[in-house]
Symmetry: C2
Subunit: 439 residues, 2 copies
């Protein structure tokens, strides 16, 4: 495929596209060089399944493509897409373009998309599709089956939703139950009335969690008065889980989720710079701690040589502790009492590791620098700092969670500032106290 693109054999590209799954087109777009991507995109946009490909691409890439496409073309792509995907695409455009495009669509589609766009993209409302099948509870099985036959558009109909006269959700019937039931039974007899549901404003991560926890293929979305508004399907839950993962990993490193491999360098610099400036400030803080001990360092230079070891081990210990806690929070393994236990455990683990590595380091320092007191000091400082590392590594994400902030965001910068400053302070402080033994 790539060879055809490079050779400009666009007819061959077109032929290949016809035989391809949209997911594979996405894969190709992701790995093409910028120049090749341009040529490929042009062919792709003329293809009838282009919408599906766009819906699966990372947002910045889609934005880049959409600015080059006419409103008419977008309207035609959007009209062929599932409403949830269509709304996601439109959300990436400026308000005035959206208005113009909605005018080009038929009235019903435009109304649905307009409503879907009012929901936040990070909520069930923003994830849901309106292509579902809702039938009255008195519908008979035979009739329900013919209704399915007549609505080939409904997305992944593996559940039928049963509603009352006012569209309130009463229950769910799986396609499987439908096949197993007698033709004359009413839906309310075979439905599961305790169907798990989410609200339009349920956060995306929670929707994904419900689908994954209860092994559902789709979950119905209702408004405040239990009126069925849409469904979220398992494939969107998987996308949400993948996105949340990226967000967690990225936040721990202080990265913005839109900073990806394909992001242009100046964009990446712009997004990373604030975090780096913040970290520079914390590094200056740690350096300021050191400056109080300059007199001691001038007398015993070995203190300067060894001090980064104390700080670095603390940083790594704290990162391990906070990773375990942040992941535990993400997986829902933590509540109030387990949080206290987890904190105590991390302190104990930190201290024990401090003793073990501290002893190794004491011996190393003694052999290297020939002074047993130096060994004693670094051993004590490491124990203290790894204890603090365990405590802060566990406490800070928990505190952020308790403050209803993202535990992953900022954990690392706060935690390592703590261990850097405390590490330098304990080691250089002990060194200053026992200075007479070191000279």
């Amino acid at each position: 495929m790539r060879r055809f693109v490079r050779l400009g054999a666009l007819d061959d590209v077109r032929r290949l596209l016809d035989r391809m799954h949209p997911a594979d087109m996405v894969q190709i777009l992701r790995t093409l060089a910028p120049a090749e991507r341009k040529a490929f995109t042009d062919v792709l946009l003329a293809h009838e399944r282009a919408g599906e490909v766009l819906a699966d691409l990372p947002e910045p890439q889609v934005e880049e493509i959409l600015v080059q496409v006419s409103n008419e073309r977008i309207a035609s792509l959007v009209s062929r897409l599932a409403p949830d995907k269509a709304a996601d695409l439109l959300r990436l455009l400026f308000e005035d373009r959206v208005v113009a495009i909605l005018k080009l669509l038929d009235e019903k589609t435009a109304a649905i998309l307009d409503r879907l766009m009012t929901y936040g993209p990070e909520t069930a409302g923003g994830m849901m599709t309106t292509r579902f099948l809702a039938l009255d509870r008195h519908t008979r099985v035979g009739e329900a089956v013919s209704r399915i036959r007549s609505e080939p558009e409904a997305e992944m109909v593996f559940y039928l939703y049963v509603v009352d006269e006012t569209q309130r959700l009463e229950g769910v019937v799986s396609l499987r139950q439908l096949v197993l039931a007698g033709q004359d039974q009413e839906l309310r007899e075979i439905m599961n009335p305790k169907a798990i549901r989410v609200r339009v404003d349920t956060p995306r991560a929670e929707v994904a969690d419900v689908i994954s926890r209860y092994n559902l293929l789709a979950v119905p979305v209702v408004d405040a008065s239990n009126v069925l508004c849409g469904i979220v399907t398992v494939d969107d839950a998987i996308d949400a889980i993948t996105d949340e993962t990226t967000r967690e990993v990225y936040r721990m490193a202080g990265l913005n989720t839109e900073d990806r491999i394909a992001t242009p360098p100046y964009e990446s610099v712009r997004r990373r710079l604030p975090w780096m400036i913040l970290n520079l400030a914390t590094a200056i803080l740690a350096s300021w701690v050191i400056s109080f001990f300059e007199a001691s360092i001038a007398q015993v230079v070995a203190l300067a040589t060894l001090m980064p070891i104390v700080a670095s081990m603390g940083g790594i210990g704290a990162t391990q502790a906070s990773t375990v806690i942040v992941r535990g929070i993400a997986l829902g393994e933590i509540d109030f009492s387990s949080a206290r236990r987890a904190l105590l455990k991390e302190i104990l683990v930190g201290m024990t590791i401090g003793v073990a590595t501290g002893l190794v380091m004491a011996l190393t320092a003694f052999v290297w620098k020939g002074n047993p007191w130096l060994g004693l000091i670094i051993c004590l400082a490491m124990i203290l700092n790894l204890l603090v590392a365990g405590a802060s590594g566990a406490a800070i994400p928990l505190l952020l969670k308790w403050l209803k902030l993202d535990p992953a965001l900022g954990s690392s910068v706060i935690v390592t500032t703590f261990t850097d400053c405390f590490g330098f302070m304990s080691f250089l402080g002990l060194g200053t106290l026992l200075l007479s033994h070191l000279k």
Copy 2:
């Protein structure tokens, strides 16, 4: 629930369990204190859905529970579970217990489980269930529907698999296509012959990726001669994605995946210690680099005060670069040519951020220490070190990937060792060269 457990009102607990979804029981078990957990587990194990709960718990917790349970009890739990979940449970037991338990089961179940256990738990074979429906290609739709009616056990039958006489996979029919088709059509007429499939030895992450990329509810698993062996359902794909995420996050922090919040402290210490010792070794290496410049530090102590800033900024820059690359690899966004571009980009981004933060730091150092040369030196060292940070942060995960190793594993330790050593070397080296201007 927790109050009932604490009060020892076990009859109430039992009653509540009857009305509960197994997923909710898992949630409760996860958050109970160890003492309460014991009481709860006793009641739970007598419950008929205990197997489903065990199948959803983290492995170490299940192992802990299973040692206290008789073989008869396990056999009865296992016989009620889907074969893939049952095999997962048995895998956690010692060989001789497994043999004893298999003898207690009926011959057919024992044979299936015995075969499933031969596949690696990290492959499609280890994830698949054998509860699927495979019918001959000449079966008529009406007959297929009655077959579904007679096999209520088949897990999540939303697809029917079509096979030839030798059980080779010919195609797939969705339950939806079955409902839409005429009663007298043969399955081969309505099936999708290009059904996406995986091999028994396909790695777990790849199976999950196929299901998620093509939005499947289940994927058929075939052996080397295309004989249908089982199916992997979307809920297992979600579990696999969650596990892979934890693994990636954990590996970047040098943690073992079994080191969770509920892991006992001594276990955590044992698992973390090797990584900490490795990091101690790299910290000593960095400290050894510093020791070459002790003479310069003794003359200009400000060098010691400022040097951790250079190393720390490099470490953070490198972590950001490697996070972007590791995530990109996990999401399949990287191939040979995009890897080269990504590497060049990270070098450029690192250098630019180095210039920006270096200038800020130069000014700070000048104002603080009153020496413009010190500012110049730290600025140059930061630019160099952030350039190296970008290069190594991108290159090392790519190299690990190219060597067919896990890019997340070890990236952080290698990368930060690099930036620590190089940071100290460049800053102290420049400081030594220009020492006369600093005194």
